[in-house]
């Protein structure tokens, strides 16, 4: 009896996923019936609220992917560097103090990063320090700040997987005369690769789903191009700004939220499942 009750609670998480999929699919199907799946997936102009409307989702998708790409260019070297330092070089005491501070980067609400990006990073760092000719709202700042946000995701999973590499592998390499640098890069890093890949995929998924930084600092202009210095719109930013008003249930605007949400959900779902698979792989090998 008690087991049944507890299982019921566990089913809530299954219901959540079902709810997400159902709510997205229902309106998306109606929307695609109106618009046509080809026009939605391959159209290059997104202006759903203008007359005549145009429903090509590609500008939102490329905007999202470009900003996420910039984020990964920031987070990959910094996150992996931090992970290697923490796993292989830092003394246990240092690791114990620095790790929570690094995790704080993930604990600060993203709206705070949005404020920082808009009021400080674009004007003071990008424009003044680096003399870049960027608009007030630009894709670049969104990418860089999201990159910093996801550093803890990269660093903590990568560090876990590097720490899980058995000491005997390192000792074997040292015994053959390898230097610390060689042991780290040629033994530990490859041995931890599946965990590292998992961390990068999960970080990318977070970057794709991040909302507030891009809503605040990257502008809301769908851009079919790759100009990071100008305003860009991501899928998340579109959903947040469109849902903000009191939109009527069943209206075109209402349906676009679900169609774009579905696109976002599918993209992140694929990345999450990939990442879960990679994590399982490194756990199986060493634990």
């Amino acid at each position: 009896m008690i087991k049944g009750l507890l299982m019921l609670a566990a089913l809530i998480s299954i219901l959540t996923t079902t709810g997400i999929v159902l709510s997205l699919i229902e309106e998306t199907i109606v929307f695609l019936g109106d618009v046509g799946i080809g026009d939605f997936l391959f159209g290059t102009e997104w202006s759903p609220l203008f007359e005549p409307p145009s429903f090509g989702v590609l500008p939102l998708v490329t905007g999202t992917l470009l900003i996420s790409l910039v984020a990964m260019l920031v987070a990959t070297p910094l996150g992996l560097g931090a992970a290697i330092y923490l796993a292989e070089y830092a003394r246990p005491g240092v690791r114990k103090t620095i790790k929570p501070i690094l995790e704080l980067l993930a604990g600060v609400p993203t709206i705070v990063f949005g404020y920082f990006a808009l009021t400080f990073f674009t004007p003071e760092i990008l424009r003044s320090l680096f003399s870049l000719d960027v608009a007030i709202f630009n894709g670049l700042v969104g990418g860089i700040i999201i990159g910093f946000l996801i550093i803890p995701t990269v660093a903590s999973i990568s560090e876990d997987s590097m720490s899980a590499v058995p000491q005997s592998l390192r000792e074997g390499a040292f015994g053959l005369g390898a230097a610390k640098l060689q042991v780290t890069m040629r033994v530990v890093f490859p041995a931890a690769l599946s965990g590292i890949v998992a961390s990068l995929v999960l970080a990318m998924s977070r970057a794709v789903g991040e909302t507030m930084v891009v809503v605040i600092a990257s502008g809301l202009v769908p851009q079919w191009g790759a100009n990071l210095g100008d305003a860009m719109e991501t899928m998340t930013a579109f959903i947040a700004t469109t849902a903000k008003g009191d939109i009527a249930t069943g209206s075109t605007a209402y349906k676009t939220i679900f169609a774009v949400g579905m696109t976002l959900f599918v993209i992140t779902l694929i990345m999450n499942l990939l990442s879960i698979r990679f994590v399982r792989k490194y756990r199986q090998v060493y634990e």
Partner: protein, 296 residues
């Protein structure tokens, strides 16, 4: 020293330099990440410290930026966290007990539940907003954009985190405790209720507080479910419309400032207050963990 060992010393000297450079590079990566965090905190403190007064905490928002405060949003956030906690504690702990103590993980449905929870933890928060909008605010439940809908949406969002941390806390209780209890004739449920849960409570509480700390700063899902931006009353029940601190901050950030009204200090003061709450919650979590942590 022989020529041979000198050669070794030279070689290891250049190797040591390379090692040192690499180590420095890795350290700089870490330093840059933490440096940006420091810069952010300094920037927000500089912008908002002057505006963070007791009047700011006890006033409602206003068109006049000199008069505006965050009271309604602060109470909205407190109500949201209350609803969220009431939802996530029983459901999260029950799920964790099921998965750790009862579930047979060779069965496909239990493995499905596990993968599902891992995936849910990484679903973008705005998607939970869409779920809340379609199922709680409109559609089947039609609650409207009220505290209850907001708190449940945030609850669903952080539930995976609660489950994962509660499972870790339960797993940390050694099997010998369970075996001892069972050997004395206790049933499995008695063992869980009287032995395992009490021992796991500090870990579970820490996880719940950290989950609430994540929920408190979430903005995107609340925007999507339609939280109000200009509210001049405190909520009195879970069926009231509401605003919340991140929503209020977002509103201030996006309002254009002019000569008479400057919204940036208001937003920064709101952020500071939010960060203070977060700091308090994290401190309590760390204190709990250190105070009650058991070494078995």
């Amino acid at each position: 020293m022989s020529a041979h060992s000198q050669a070794i010393a030279r070689a290891s000297g250049s190797r040591r330099a390379k090692d040192f450079a690499f180590r420095l590079g890795m350290f700089l990566c870490l330093g840059l990440a933490i440096g940006l965090l420091g810069l952010l905190l300094v920037d927000v403190a500089r912008d908002g410290a002057g505006r963070l007064t007791w009047d700011f905490v006890t006033s409602f928002t206003s068109i006049d930026t000199d008069q505006a405060g965050i009271q309604a949003a602060l109470w909205g956030t407190i109500w949201l966290m209350g609803v969220c906690a009431v939802f996530i504690v029983p459901v999260g702990v029950a799920t964790a007990i099921y998965l750790e103590e009862y579930a047979d993980d060779t069965k496909w449905w239990n493995r499905l539940i596990e993968v599902n929870i891992q995936n849910l933890a990484a679903v973008p928060s705005i998607v939970y907003g869409i779920l809340g909008l379609a199922f709680l605010v409109r559609g089947p439940l039609s609650l409207g954009p009220v505290i209850l809908a907001g708190g449940l949406t945030l609850g669903l969002l952080v539930l995976p985190v609660v489950i994962i941390s509660a499972r870790e806390a339960i797993r940390a209780v050694p099997p010998s405790i369970r075996e001892g209890s069972m050997a004395l004739g206790a049933t499995q449920w008695q063992t869980i209720r009287r032995q395992v849960l009490p021992a796991a409570i500090p870990g579970i509480a820490t996880g719940v507080i950290l989950s609430l700390a994540r929920a408190i700063g979430e903005t995107a899902p609340l925007i999507v479910i339609g939280a109000a931006t200009v509210v001049a009353f405190n909520p009195t029940s879970v069926n009231d419309a509401f605003t919340a601190m991140p929503i209020q901050i977002f509103d201030w950030i996006t309002r254009p400032s002019n000569d008479t009204n400057n919204y940036a200090p208001l937003a920064a003061a709101g952020i500071l207050l939010l960060m203070i709450l977060l700091l308090l919650m994290n401190s309590v979590a760390i204190w709990l963990r250190n105070r009650y942590e058991q070494k078995w």
